[in-house]
């Protein structure tokens, strides 16, 4: 066999392998897109049956009977996510500042590791933690316990994003504040925070998009409620809890329809926050790179 034929044959084989790999990647990519399409299709097709604007603002009925809305779940989600943010944001930003600005050595590493640890804890275990500490102490389930559980879900996300933002504050800016003789606290409030505000906002939006959809941490903390509850010390519902409770009664067509409709609402909210968060993230990145 001449060298030329050998070469031709091997390069034909190499070309074939190349095309086969491309085809396999194409198939993998196509399959990877199927679940999203399938989930969104069923949410829309099934969810729209029971969904209407009045579904959002009417009170829940019985689990087996037709009709009933999700106003209790929406109020619960708003209250618990809001309170969770009020708890998580100061702690998250403080942890980020502590780690980046006040390089406190060993303690900073410990705090950082603890927050990373929380990020790795399965959310059902966070629910158990809060049950053990808050619910058992209070003696009953409450929206407050749910909010604390959600704040633990959000804390690492906010701390991590803020930390990244503080880290990439341009050196020039830091040196500028020092050259002006600014005290640190003034530099922080007048220069650093406005600079990183967009980044912290990104963290908050992403954290909300995560927390709004969480069921597991709320199961043994907020518990759920079939009534419209605004008192944070009482058990309350949330969108994922509402969907979960209806989905558990899969045998009843009315509950099943409500679960799909609640799921549609939930996914819409989560996706809005998620898309917004990613958009903010890409924007801050670009602006910071340009600076």
């Amino acid at each position: 066999m001449s060298a030329e034929t050998l070469l031709r044959r091997t390069s034909a084989g190499r070309g074939r392998t190349d095309r086969i790999v491309f085809a396999l990647c194409l198939i993998a990519g196509a399959i990877a897109l199927v679940p999203l399409a399938a989930v969104l299709y069923y949410l829309l097709a099934e969810g729209l049956k029971a969904w209407s604007p009045s579904f959002l603002i009417s009170k829940p009925g019985g689990i087996t009977t037709k009709g009933g809305g999700i106003v209790n779940a929406i109020i619960g989600t708003l209250e618990m996510t809001g309170l969770g943010l009020v708890i998580a944001v100061p702690f998250g930003v403080a942890v980020a500042l502590y780690v980046v600005e006040y390089r406190a050595g060993r303690m900073a590493i410990i705090v950082r590791t603890a927050v990373d640890l929380v990020a790795g804890i399965p959310s059902i275990v966070i629910g158990l933690f809060v049950y053990s500490l808050v619910v058992l102490t209070m003696g009953h389930f409450s929206g407050l316990a749910g909010a604390i559980a959600l704040s633990l879900v959000m804390l690492p996300i906010i701390a991590r994003t803020s930390e990244e933002m503080f880290k990439i504050i341009p050196r020039r800016l830091r040196e500028g504040t020092m050259a002006l003789g600014m005290p640190r606290w003034r530099a922080l409030f007048a220069i650093y925070l406005p600079t990183v505000a967009a980044g912290i906002m990104t963290g908050i939006v992403l954290a909300v998009s995560r927390a709004v959809g969480e069921t597991a941490p709320l199961l043994f903390t907020a518990l759920g409620s079939n009534f419209v509850v605004t008192d944070i010390t009482q058990p309350m519902s949330a969108l994922p809890l509402y969907m979960f409770q209806n989905a558990q009664n899969i045998g009843f067509p009315a509950a099943r329809e409500r679960a799909w409709a609640a799921g549609l609402t939930l996914v819409a909210i989560v996706l809005i926050f998620n898309v917004l968060g990613r958009w903010l993230a890409s924007r801050t990145q670009i602006r910071l790179l340009q600076r």
Partner: protein, 328 residues
């Protein structure tokens, strides 16, 4: 210096006082940040200890070995063994990895290497949106849509000659380790894909061009340049996906079948650690049942912690080796 910071007349006595207050700002801020950070740390530590203490109450009932290695879970007769759940968690997570890893790798290569950014970007974005969908939605979709699709497939395999192998054996009623694995695969696919993409994207352009200039085909460039470089990152993505799969609760609860038993067949119903906590905690009224469930939570915590630590260790090993390769 003083004149430029504060719009205060340095000569007036009030100015002096105010300047003094200004300088108080730093210690206040520093201590504020410190106290909030330490409080966050303390909260985490207190919660860990408190939960550990609560779960330790199970030891008044059975020994730690009986709990960890017990294969029977029968709350009605107050027997609590963790093995059925550890088994279910491991089996469903492994199935999830078997399906998700090749898909994620293929998809991330497709998006980064083959498709133009104009098309690849949106495809990657769509895959990553999967990560945003709440697990309760996956669970509900899983039991109503996915399980009915999987049921005939499971049945066909268990009745075919393959079914004589115990892991593919029948009966195959629908909800199963396998169904849980598939739902988990969908859920971790976006995580592995996005981490793998970042790793692949970080491959130095020069190395890539070097391989192409030597006459390597696209696949050979991927095989010998991109994949070795991105190995650590891809592995990190896989571990991240695994730790998500281990801790996933609600979606698994819907599709795994909720039977606290050990079955050889992946088509049999089972239970997982997080799912049993969610499924039984509220109705746990037998003696030591809640404590046993909290103890399962601690087992779950330790398991996912171990996976994370192992991941960090292995990834740092990869990075060290990659660094060594660069020097060479």
């Amino acid at each position: 210096m003083t004149a430029s910071t504060a719009p205060v007349e340095p000569t007036s006595p009030g100015g002096l006082v105010r300047r003094r207050r200004l300088s108080m700002g730093d210690p206040v801020l520093a201590w504020g940040v410190r106290i909030l950070s330490w409080a966050a740390l303390a909260a985490v530590v207190v919660m860990l200890i408190d939960t550990a203490l609560n779960s330790a109450k199970i030891l008044q009932h059975e020994s730690i070995l009986d709990f960890l290695f017990g294969t029977v879970w029968a709350p009605a007769s107050t027997i609590y063994g963790a093995v059925p759940f550890i088994y279910g968690t491991v089996v469903s997570s492994v199935i999830a990895l078997i399906f998700a890893v090749p898909l994620a790798l293929g998809a991330s290569l497709l998006v980064n290497e083959y498709l133009p950014a104009r098309i690849g970007g949106p495809v990657a974005y769509a895959i990553e949106l999967l990560a945003a969908i709440p697990s309760v939605v996956y669970g509900f979709w899983g039991i109503l849509v996915l399980v009915p699709v999987l049921r005939p497939i499971q049945l066909a395999i268990s009745e075919s000659p393959l079914g004589t192998i115990p892991i593919f054996g029948g009966p195959a009623p629908g909800p199963s380790y396998f169904a849980a694995g598939i739902v988990l695969a969908v859920m971790i696919l976006p995580i592995i894909t996005s981490v793998a993409r970042d790793a692949i994207r970080a491959t130095p352009r020069l190395q890539r061009e070097g391989a192409l200039a030597l006459g390597a085909t696209h696949w050979e460039t991927i095989r010998h340049v991109v994949l070795p470089f991105a190995r650590g990152g891809i592995f990190a993505g896989i571990i991240l996906g695994l730790s998500r799969a281990i801790g996933e609760t609600i979606a698994v609860l819907f599709v795994i079948g909720n039977q606290p038993q050990i079955h050889a067949s992946i088509f049999s119903p089972g239970y997982s650690l997080p799912a049993v906590i969610a499924g039984e905690f509220k109705e746990a009224n037998q003696p030591f049942h809640p404590e046993a469930l909290i103890a399962l939570g601690v087992v779950l915590f330790v398991l996912s912690f171990a996976v994370n630590v192992a991941a960090r260790y292995v990834v740092s090993g990869f990075e060290a080796r990659a660094g060594g390769a660069d020097v060479r």
